[in-house]
Symmetry: C2
Amino acid sequence: MFIDRLIESIQEKNNPTVVGLDPKIEYVPEFIRERSFKEYGANLKGASEAIISFNKMLIDSIYDQVPAVKPQLAYYEMYGVDGIHAFDETCKYAKGKGLLVIADGKRNDIGTTAEAYSKAFLGITAVDQEIKEKAFDVDALTVSPYLGEDGVKPFIDDCINNNKGIFVLVKTSNKSSGQLQDLVTNDGKSIYEIMAEYVNVWGKPVTGKYGYSSVGAVVGATYPNQAKLLRSIMKKAYILVPGYGAQGGTARDCANSFNRDKLGAIVNASRSVMCAYKSDMWKNEYSAERFAEASRAEVIRMKNDLNAALESL
Amino acid sequence: MFIDRLIESIQEKNNPTVVGLDPKIEYVPEFIRERSFKEYGANLKGASEAIISFNKMLIDSIYDQVPAVKPQLAYYEMYGVDGIHAFDETCKYAKGKGLLVIADGKRNDIGTTAEAYSKAFLGITAVDQEIKEKAFDVDALTVSPYLGEDGVKPFIDDCINNNKGIFVLVKTSNKSSGQLQDLVTNDGKSIYEIMAEYVNVWGKPVTGKYGYSSVGAVVGATYPNQAKLLRSIMKKAYILVPGYGAQGGTARDCANSFNRDKLGAIVNASRSVMCAYKSDMWKNEYSAERFAEASRAEVIRMKNDLNAALESL
């Protein structure tokens, strides 16, 4: 089951974090960009190939330290068909290194269309009556819940049938997340509480051997009070926590999303790891040529930061 | 402005409909599939090339009758990188025939990531400081509002700067749409009403010369009473209406989403047009080889059906 594999990998690496792979071309060091533009042209193809090189070097440098990576589809779609090729190559490479891959796509649609999305990422596509192929090969997908249960159910079916996972948006890390998510209904509950209760129901059929479900939730580190409440509502959901680092969430804020067993959450960092070589913390120590070492140093720093915050739980 | 172009094309063709291009491989007639599998292999590439052929023949047959097409991204992602190539080819071909293209992706994310999605579909991607390229070339995109305003704003900026449009999910056509969208807040309003009010606010800066905004809304034909209410709240939003035909919505149901000026809505049909050659209505008249003629006949039938319902408004 997805969630068991995730927990075992977190425990093996003693690291409840996931590295977001959101590679804007300007994050990629110049020497990689130049090489790629020379070979493929200064165009979407060249940018996409530069991103592939960057991601592979980054993965090579961190795969023994982190359990999972989370490529954000928007940053690949931005480079068109070539960008989607870069997404595909990145997922394959990461899986080849033993990493779990969480595709961040926040997909959502009515039932039959959600089924197509689920086939794309978590299932398998029928080419004809006999031949089936995987479109993309990832372990989990983020899902947006605006359409309700019949838009989520097809993904859960693939969680059951193919040992995959999903993370449902509950309380997102952005400033305006409250506009919809914090609205209070006439029975006194907020939308994010109601969504959390659905996550519990949806997650039951895919509970793994450690008591956690392969249907997880997204709860931003930037709202620590809501995170505490949501942790208490969704006791068995793994919480994917964005908002650490660049967005302002601290390790202590993130700790609110964990249970007493020090499990139950996985914290994402994207920019702070990918651009570590440009950061005040690491730029004097590592040149752009050594960007991957800077990312590794940041991954280890973040791991220790989080584990220290978890010790004090 | 997007919305002016849409209205002018609707008026020119006297047809307030959009054809959804959601091409499951089993919708594609066997003679196209076989030809493509022979040339490219019975794999995702062969399926994607079959879909391109199917879409092009379909577009050739209907482009003088309909103002717009709406490719649903899920049905292209399902075929992997090759599927995204098919999406791209389809968009380019449709635009070459003078059709407006509405990409149905229901994209949503926090601000910086929504910006990347918007660049992908409505904007332009910087390859370096001087070179910019379009990732995909569409006219409008569907957007999901779970993250609130800062997740929608980047798309609106591209509506302003690049003359593009968006359709924000308000009340979707599926059975479980009410689970979240019908919840009533403590001030007595439903979520879909509140979203409709946001659509009004978000749409103001992109109001065109006919008084309608390039920020539209998605309201399913399957909920005619809510559609009436939402029409009255969002007087200036163009409403994209899914649910006609295969999902059970009638022309009279759809008419609820129009204004007295017979403008204000565009009705989508996907399966009923794409698979017209398999339908009880047309299968005796058209063989699979003549699928595109069947689709044209269905497009004209639907146009007349809708226009008759609008006459009785």
